[in-house]
């Protein structure tokens, strides 16, 4: 490989590099900063994200392989990179206040999130099973540490340990699956697998077992049935901004890789695994929604709701048509906006000795603080898929995909699930608007947190009212699979 090419590769890798470098700077700087100047670190991390976003935008419309085809820069990967960067940015803006409140070490916190984001980016852009695995591990290991960040709390430690043990086991399964695929094809590269499959080379049992292991592994990552059990405990234990970050980022990254695997590399076998994903989608959304109904802890409720949302997203994978893929990609944006917003609401009401983590804690919010209640209302309406919100447009596309492919049963289960979902989302609305205030609520004064809530609510509505630009973007990003 010539030097010029290497240079271009490095240039194309700039978004990831920005994050890595920022993370390293944070770690180096942290020990030397006096306590009162730690907030400086937050500024640096936001700069790092903005630099990375700038680099990503500059590379928009590029489409080229990197690092000897291990990696690919295409609109699809860039689209996901922007989602991850947005998620991380909002997570940071929400976290500042929370970190000073809980006196958590800021340097490591920001650095770990940045490393996790890098891992997600690698997953979305990986064109080889091994590079995807590499990204997945970087993301996973940073997340384990982030979940256990509240070192003094049993729930946090329990969540982290659970996540770590199950995650490590899961990584083993994925790796074993990869090994079996390598045994079959003698390659781990997605394009070569695709070529082999399209030439109609016989699929051996070993290959199918390998694919099954990959499905199981990624189903764990996206918290799909029957590998969803970890999510509630992990979300409950982790600091709320981290829970929001993991529920959005980790899920989107795993879906990004899953889509590349099943709608690109294994596309010739589409008909064979379609039924399986239909089943997985139905079960995941139903189980998630039914279990969410009885939750009183808001983070657990959001965990089950995020399982249900994974179910809706799986529709896109199960249909694999332009409608389904656009819907899925659109839904990632919608899901990021509304879910980050919901978790940010927990942070907004958190006080030094009071965690607004039960849905009871939101009683009477509308009377005392109507603006924040309205923001939460918008997130909840969007989560429930009531128009005009981003969540509605996303669901509309996904359901349209199911109807178009003639999967009426799936579509029916999905719409009925949205009715079930409304019943628990609206328990929060009821508490906010129709109940008397129980304890004194004091929303945080952090302007970054307030700004991000307003922005998230605004974009949730905007994407519902005028989704055209975003729909055009997801069409370009999804063009790869058509």
């Amino acid at each position: 490989m010539s030097n010029a090419l290497m240079l271009q590769d490095l240039f194309f890798f700039l978004p990831e590099t920005c994050l890595l470098v920022t993370g390293v700077i944070l770690l180096l700087l942290d020990p030397f900063l006096p306590k009162e100047k730690k907030s400086f670190l937050g500024g640096i991390s936001v700069m790092g994200i903005l630099a990375s976003a700038l680099a990503t935008l500059c590379l928009w419309k590029e489409n080229a392989p990197l690092f000897g085809h291990l990696y690919r820069l295409d609109p699809y990967a860039l689209f996901f990179k922007l989602i991850f960067l947005g998620t991380t940015l909002f997570t940071f803006l929400v976290s500042f206040r929370y970190l000073s409140l809980t006196r958590l070490p800021q340097g490591e916190y920001f650095a770990l999130i940045l490393f996790a984001t890098t891992g997600m980016m690698v997953m979305a852009a990986g064109m080889d099973l091994l590079s995807i695995y590499l990204g997945l591990e970087v993301m996973a290991i940073s997340s384990y540490a982030l979940v256990g960040f509240l070192k003094k709390e049993r729930a946090s430690l329990e969540g982290a340990l659970k996540y770590f043990l199950l995650g490590a086991f899961n990584s083993g399964i994925i790796l074993y699956g990869i090994a079996l695929l390598y045994g079959t094809w003698g390659t781990t590269h997605l394009s070569e697998i695709l070529n082999g499959l399209s030439r109609g080379e016989a699929t051996s049992k070993m290959f199918l077992v390998g694919v099954a292991m990959l499905i199981a592994g990624f189903a764990f990552k996206i918290a799909a049935f029957p590998f969803h059990m970890w999510a509630p405990d992990v979300y409950e234990g982790s600091p709320p901004p981290v829970a929001g970050f993991i529920s959005v980022g980790s899920k989107a990254a795993s879906f990004a890789a899953l889509l590349r695997l099943f709608l690109f590399a294994f596309k010739p076998l589409f008909a064979e695994w379609q039924g399986f994903f239909v089943f997985l989608a139905m079960m995941t959304m139903t189980v998630g929604n039914l279990l969410a109904i009885s939750q009183v802890d808001l983070k657990r409720m959001l965990a089950y709701s995020s399982i249900a949302h994974a179910g809706y997203l799986l529709i896109g994978l199960a249909v694999g048509t332009p409608f389904g893929i656009s819907g899925m990609l659109f839904y990632f944006v919608a899901y990021a906006l509304m879910n980050l917003g919901a978790f940010a609401m927990i942070v907004l009401l958190a006080q030094e000795n009071f965690r607004a983590e039960s849905i009871e804690d939101f009683k009477g919010l509308a009377k005392a603080h109507p603006v924040w209640a309205l923001c939460f209302l918008i997130f909840l309406l969007s989560l429930a898929g009531i128009p005009p919100s981003a969540g509605f447009i996303g669901k509309f596309y996904l359901f349209a995909g199911a109807v178009q492919s003639g999967l009426y049963g799936l579509a029916l289960v999905a719409v009925l699930n949205s009715v079930v979902a409304l019943s628990y989302y609206f328990r929060i609305v009821r508490n906010m608007y129709m109940m008397e205030e129980r304890s004194s609520l004091a929303p945080s004064r952090s302007w970054t947190l307030r700004l991000s809530l307003i922005l998230l609510a605004f974009f949730t509505l905007l994407a519902g009212l005028y989704p055209v630009p975003l729909l055009e973007t997801v069409r370009q990003a999804g063009a790869l699979f058509l």
């Binding site: 009531i386 109807v403 579509a411 609206f426 055009e472 069409r475």
Partner: protein, 507 residues
Amino acid sequence: MLTNPFAFPILSTLCYLPLAGAFFIMFFFKRSWTGLIKVFSFVVSLVGFALSLLLLPSFQAGSSEMQFVEKHSWIDAIGVSYFLGIDGISLVLVLLTTFLSAISVLSSFSAVTVRQKEYYASMLLLETGMLGVFMALDLFLFYIFWEVMLVPMYFLIGVWGGERRLYAAIKFFLYTLFGSVLMLLGILALYFLSAAPEFGIGKGTFDFLELSHLVLPLKPQLWLFLAFFFAFAIKVPMFPFHTWLPDAHVEAPTAGSVLLAGVLLKMGTYGFLRFCLVLFPEASRTLSPWMVTLAMIGIIYGAFLAMAQSDMKKLIAYSSVSHLGFVMLGIYSLTPQGLSGAVLQMINHGLSTGGLFLIAGMIYERRHTRLIAEFGGLSHKMPVFATFFAITLFSSIGLPGLNGFIGEFLILLGAFRAKFLYAAFAVSGIVLGAAYMLWLYQRVMFGSCDNPKNQILRDCTLREIVYMVPMIVLMFWIGLYPKPMLRLSEASVNHLHKIVQTAQPLR
């Protein structure tokens, strides 16, 4: 399709004026400025009514075309457009909506004492949603208005309602949402059928006017009819989907009940008229005996339930089930008389049942109870009130000379032409209706005024008279001279009838 003769988009202005008002109240008014908030929201709703009256002179009643049309591209990629327009049927419902909204706002001045800012904002928001439903001609847009409207109604019931308001509010929301999401599937299926070349369009669209050219075989028509049926039948509500209604009506504040009965229920019947008949004519013909059967069960069962109630509002709520049964009977008699009777009866029911809820609200404001047994002999204490009550009640029963008579007569005529048996059953509903209503009046108004709490009741205030008089005037006007009202929707109704009776399915 007739373009908008005004220099400005009149339908959009009308539709979003209340929304703008709601925003203004939310963001610029202080919580404590209750007087200003009341006057402002009344003025906004009054201007809305005036704007809707402005439609009348330029409306071409002889045409069944969509008028005042506004069409703009919205989500081009999937053929969604921002498409508003009204024909005769929607016009009368738009008028009803703006009229009842103004009345409801006025009726709330003393009834609502807490969180008034949010209350009036919700009322105006609800008006926007209702108007949008009657104006939207793009199914995607229609669905959005259809759902959006649930949110303010949920709040009206849940925040300002009675004792079991929380239960009633979520029950209302879940029931209607259940129907709506099935309709969403129907809309999606319709979209993909319109994209298939063999059914006459060949390009995916949500445009109602284009979709009305869709020619489908009977079987998909039946399935699609079923998908839309749930949404509309729950809203109407038809037997056996009526169980949410008594709860919602009883718990809602007076103005909420007025709009719920007066306008929201009409969305269901409007949906059948506008979408089910036109898009699935063959299915409508095939299923009409079933629909009529459900309607007749509703008429009679609703009447019996009403008779057994001890709560005034619950009685009126069940009477709605019975009356809406009449409207459904008129629609699915599939005769011109039945259809125009149904359209007229939609307006009549809005006036008479809306009026009855206002009456019940007046009593409740004075006594804080709605139990019929608590009252008796009120006519001596409140003569003006007794007059209003009597006229509204007779309008609801269908006494000749009042509006209800014309509507019921036309529906019976239509039903009779369709099948003798239909009319025979329906007439028994009218008799039962007279029975429970008159019995209600007797128990509340006549006899001796024994209960000491009733001795001190005051007669109607000036404000109450101001909002009851226009209702009464309209009841008499439609009852004595229904022609102008019928003429507004005549062309559209005949057009509808022609479509249903002549359309042939794809063989």
